[in-house]
Structure formats: structure tokens, C-alpha cells
Point group: C2
Chain length 426, copies 2
Amino acid sequence: MGKRLIILGGGFGGLYAARELRRAPLDVTLIDRRNFHLFQPLLYQVATGSLSPADISAPLRGILSGQKNTRVLLGEAADIDPQARRLILKDGAAFDYDYLLVATGSKSSYFGNDSWSERAPSLKTVEEATAIRHKILYAFEAAERAGVPSLRRAWLTFAIVGAGPTGVELAGALGEIARHTLKHDFRSIRSEDAQIFLLDGSSHVLPSYPEDLAADAERSLIRLGVQVRPGVRVVGVDANGVTFQNQRGESECLIAKTVLWAGGVTVTSFGRALAAKTQAPTDKQGRIRVNPDLTIPNWPEIYVVGDLAGLDGKDGKPLPGVAQVAMQGGAYAAKAIVRRLDGPKQLKPFHYFDKGDLAVIGRGAAVARIFGAHLSGLLAWLVWLFVHLMYLVQFQNRVVVFVQWGFQYVTFSRGARLITGDIKEE
Amino acid sequence: MGKRLIILGGGFGGLYAARELRRAPLDVTLIDRRNFHLFQPLLYQVATGSLSPADISAPLRGILSGQKNTRVLLGEAADIDPQARRLILKDGAAFDYDYLLVATGSKSSYFGNDSWSERAPSLKTVEEATAIRHKILYAFEAAERAGVPSLRRAWLTFAIVGAGPTGVELAGALGEIARHTLKHDFRSIRSEDAQIFLLDGSSHVLPSYPEDLAADAERSLIRLGVQVRPGVRVVGVDANGVTFQNQRGESECLIAKTVLWAGGVTVTSFGRALAAKTQAPTDKQGRIRVNPDLTIPNWPEIYVVGDLAGLDGKDGKPLPGVAQVAMQGGAYAAKAIVRRLDGPKQLKPFHYFDKGDLAVIGRGAAVARIFGAHLSGLLAWLVWLFVHLMYLVQFQNRVVVFVQWGFQYVTFSRGARLITGDIKEE
């Protein structure tokens, strides 16, 4: 029996660590709340009716079934006893470890207004994606049946809070749904009359992108009919819509039956428990400030990778919570653990190799920063397609997603326009 | 403005009626609780992780968007005032009609024990299919984590109640999941050790099929490790499993954490309201005994097609509740309404053309009765594949399902093995 490594989380960080360890002399246990790896960057396509959840998911057991040193368990981490090197799951089961790799990710943040989540779902899980799909499609159905014009307008008004990549991608997809996908489907309304608002506190969309690309993205959004409202501060979300302070400091109320949240992320409750029990320093988002080798200060056997890890990049700014950082962190931590098996060693610190950023706005419209070059338009869109297909974990997913995208490109249709779950709307 | 026809339900009956009317001088409204047509015959493949809900669904609006005389509304019929020719929806909205075509289908029947549905979900809706998928996959996960052998065995025991086509297809798919799909995925259990029981009150499986085909199907099931228990009467379903009276009249208890219901169907609450308000005669399953032209006696403007219609075939037995009967009934009723627009006419009664029956047990194993011929094995399986692909309403679905089946055939894998929804299990 090798030393016991527990990997918590089967997202990009945990999965890439596990795969790196396929021939390691370790007894690896991967624990996740879900039985599948989810390709988060395409989750907005589930929410907007292009893809099914299974198209962007791969069963963790299936991916790792050939890896004899690894077992996969369904379970949710609740607490930790770092002195005893013991992990406690929500159902009370306890697991001892020699090394622990924490890759539990982040959850959506409503900046202290968690009650808004009922009205304004965010996009982190498969269930939230199908709930958003339900909300978007149902809004058009309700508008078609609404008799009163003001009610019809409220159903045809969509507000998206947060203009980072997720908010921009949601807004762009909504614009395409209204202008193309549903164009001939209704008799009482014109789906093109839908109004889509994109609200953000920054002065422009995609604040983390270079300014020229952000400006290109904004132009593409405007072409799809999206109304960008920068510099606003949301102060309320209720059954009527969103209330916010605009750039001039005035209070405005946007009447919208559909509000979607792409506002930001925070740490999970296990992340907080881990920080508390290890007395680890945290940054203002609650991320654990890790050592340059991704371990927690004073706990060399606990590695933290992905969204929960707070580490500064070469430019002195914290590394962003994106898939690339998690993948590279997972692979680095896995290699570091293997090298330490032969005894203490001085290891090179984790170095994030920034390949770039990609965001898609719509058909033929995307912005990309790749190895330093700035691209936008059709070329960026083709790069986006290629990169996203290639990073899908399973070959089967790549083929199915490619087929679905092909149909969507030719027909403007979206294959997964299902309203599922309870239909209970006001 | 033409005369107003309301079609209730977008299943096989309602959709085939609507499509038949694409050039009719009628003002057609199709009302369904769902925004999509569901290809029910493949729903068991969603429940067993082969396909996604969207693969076998097509948005009703999308299918009918080019049909200018037809509008689609999301709504659920609650009541009817046949004297006033008025339909009332659950949300209180009322719609007047000149002709009404009722194709609301059936729902699962627990023979008066509706409380069993909590423990033993049935397979009628997309939500039920994903709930069954959750139950099946979670059972293997829980078995992997169970410490006590008796608990492990309970999680690895599956009981399916009802050995009609749905029950047989579920049992066959479960056998393949246990023996092939999950074979290398677990470390503490052997998925092949799963026990699958198929219970039915009849003396053999597929009671509505010719006896030679039923015997072939049973042999295929046994090859997949399914244990067939004919002649039993289920008397209870609870957290421990199923209690039933066996063939010798003894009471038996089968300890199984997973019980699935494929027991039978009954009419929906709107079907009952319709029968009551029109004082229509019903059969013992609650179906409305329609005239030979599919109208309700004394209500020549109300047509009933599909599972809600009770009509005897040439052999004097009631027509079965299958897709073919609904499709042909819908098309017949649509044509009859168009012909009557020019004034009263004597119309030929509805004649059901029985093309046959198909049930699949597993890879290369199916039984088929086609135009009188009996087939089983590989040839029946190929016919089954071809027929099901061809009857999928959208070309895109055909391609995606074909790709998924191709991968499954080559790799023995199943692409949609997601446990979604709340994970709360004892």
C-alpha cells in the first residue's frame, strides 16, 4: 500500500491532478459531491438551450476506471481535523490521509444578499443551468399568453447582473435566441422585441480583459440588441425586477420578470472550515493564501488548487479563477507529491503559464487573447470553438457537441429548448 | 378566420393531427403542459443513461413554426364546458372552440396505491426518467460506500414491477449497465453482482406479445442476469423493498433499495373531467368509449385519440395504448374535421392499421412482430434501431441519437450517466 492521497473535487483541479497520478505509487481517493466532471466553460450553453448537461459532463468513474491506484467516491466534505490528518464527510464518514489535495472550487456570491438567489439564479451547477433555461424559455411562453401590454413587456425584459465572461456569454446567447432562434415561433409577440440588459459595476464589459477586446465585445453585444449599463450598483432584486444606482447616483428600477446572476464567486463552506482549522491566512474573497508550492502555510501535506487558492501571479495580481489555473495547479501539486515520496526536496514554486482568455458573444463573434495576441470576430470565434472542443474530456462529448453546433450554425435552431421541472410561475 | 380547432396535447396523437392540418382552412391552437414533444418509446434510454432528454424531445413551437394557421400555447387543461364549447385551463384562462381534439394521454397507475410512487418512480415524464437515472446510478455509488454486506446487497438489488415493454426494456438496460457499462468502475463492489428482478402478475413477460416472442425475450433477459418472477401480486412497496404474493400464494419480501414501477396506466384528471361533463361511457381503465369515428357519443365536435380513447379493434379487443394508435387516430381525426368543414358527411370509421410491435432487450437482442412476421435477435434489433431513428421527429435528433448509439455500441459506455437533482438518500 502506498501513501494515501485524498483529492477533494473532480473539477479541473482535482481531475487533472488525478490523471497526472495514473502511474504513481500512491493510494488515491477522489471524492466529489457529483459523479461527473462538468465542463463549466460551456455551462452557459446548457442554460441557453444549445446543449444538454450530459454533452459537457463525463462520469468521473468512467474517466478514471482504468487507473487501478485510484478509487472514486461520491461524498461531500464537511470538516477536517488537520492534526489527525482526517477528513470528515457530510454523512459522518471519516477518511485518513497522508496528503490532501483540496480542489473544491467556488460558489456564486450575492455579496451578502443570498435571498436574491431565489429570483436571480446563477450559473454554477447543472441544476442551475436547467433552471435558467426554464426561466428564459418560460418568459417567452408567458409573454405569448399575457394579455396586458405592460405584463408582456415585463416578461420580454431580461436583466443579467455581471458583465464578466459568463454574463457576456449569457447576454449574447439571449440576444441570438430572441433575434434568430425563436423568430418564427410566436403569433402574439415578436421575440425580437425582447430587451436584454447587462448590468455591471465596472466602467465596461469584460473588466479583466484588455480594453480593446472589451470594446470589441461590447460592439458585438450591441449588434445583438443587448443594452449595456456600466457603472451601476445593484441594490435589490425582487418579483418586479432589479433596482440599482446608476452612474449618476440615481436610483433606477428595471421591470423584468427574468433576472440572471453572473455577479461573482466566493468560497464554499468547506473552504471556510479548512481555513479556520488550519488557521490559514485568507484574502478578501475568502481564498486561502497558499505558499508558492500551493501548500497551506504550516501544513505541508495539504495542497490547495483552483478557485480556493489565493496566489499572486508574476504581475503581482491574484491568479484568476479560471480553468487553466486550476488544471495547471492540479498537475503541479500531483507532481510535487510524487517527488516528495522519496524524501524531502526543494521544489520549484508553481508557475502559471497564461495561455490567454477567450469569450464568445455569438455566431462568428468572440474575443481572444492568445499567447499575447489580441483577436476578435470570426477568427477568435473559430479559435474558441477549437479550444473548447479539444478541452472536452471525452471524445464522445467532442463529437456530440460538434454535431449540435453544426446543426445550430446551419439552422439557427437550438436543440435543447426544453422547459423541465415544476412549472410554477406568477 | 376559419373555424377554431383546439388540440389538447402535443404527444403522438396531437402532433400528428396538427401536422396533418398544415394547409387546412382552420384556426388551430395546440395546447400542451410542456413546450416539447417527447418521443416516449426511448424514454427508458434517458432513465438508463444512454441519452439526454433533449435527444428525444423536439420543441413543439419549432416543429410547427412554419404552419401559419397554428399557434402553440403552454397550458394545462383543467375542465371543460361542452355545452358552451369552452375549455378551461388550470390558470383560469378559457378558450372557445368549434372542434376539440383531445390527446392528453395517460398517466402511470399504481392500482390505487399512489403512495408507492414515492418509493417506486414510474416512467412517463422527463423528470421521472432523470429521477430513475439518479436512483439507479446512486444505488451503485451507495453500494461502493456501504460497509455492511447486507446493506451493500440491498443497494445492489433492483426490482422492476411490470413486465410489459417498458419493464422489459428497463430490466434489459439495467442488466447491461451492471454487466458491461460499470464493470471496471468500482473498487469495493463488483457491479456484475447486482441482482435484477422483474415481477409481473402474468404467467410470462410481454403478455401482449405472441408467445414465441415473449419466450425469446425472456431468454434474452435471463442471459443478462435478470430474474423473472411471473404470477406475482405486489402488495406493498416501502423503504426496505417490495412485498408480494408469489405463485404459490405465499407472501415474500424482496429487500431492494431500488424499486421501479412499470405497472400500467390510467386516465388523467382532465380525462375524468371530460368523461363526467360529457356523460361519456368509459371502460374499466377509465378510457372514454368513443364512436367508430373517434368522437364522443352525442358530442360530434369532440374527438378523442390516443391513450384516452377506448375503441375495439378488428379482433374485438381494445386497441392498445401505443404510439401507432395515437398517430393514426390523430391523423384520422384531423382529416375528418377538414372533410366536415364543407357540411355534414358520412365518413368511414377509423381503421387501425397494425404494423406490429417492437421491444428491445439489449445489445443485439430484440423481439419484433412486423406485418405479421415474428423476428427476434439481431435482425429484430436492427429493425428496432431503424424504426426508432426514423420516427424521431427532428433530423437533428436522429443524427445525435445515432452518434450516441454508435459510441455505446463500440465502447459499451453510456454517455449520460449523471446523477442530478438533490442527493438525499437514506
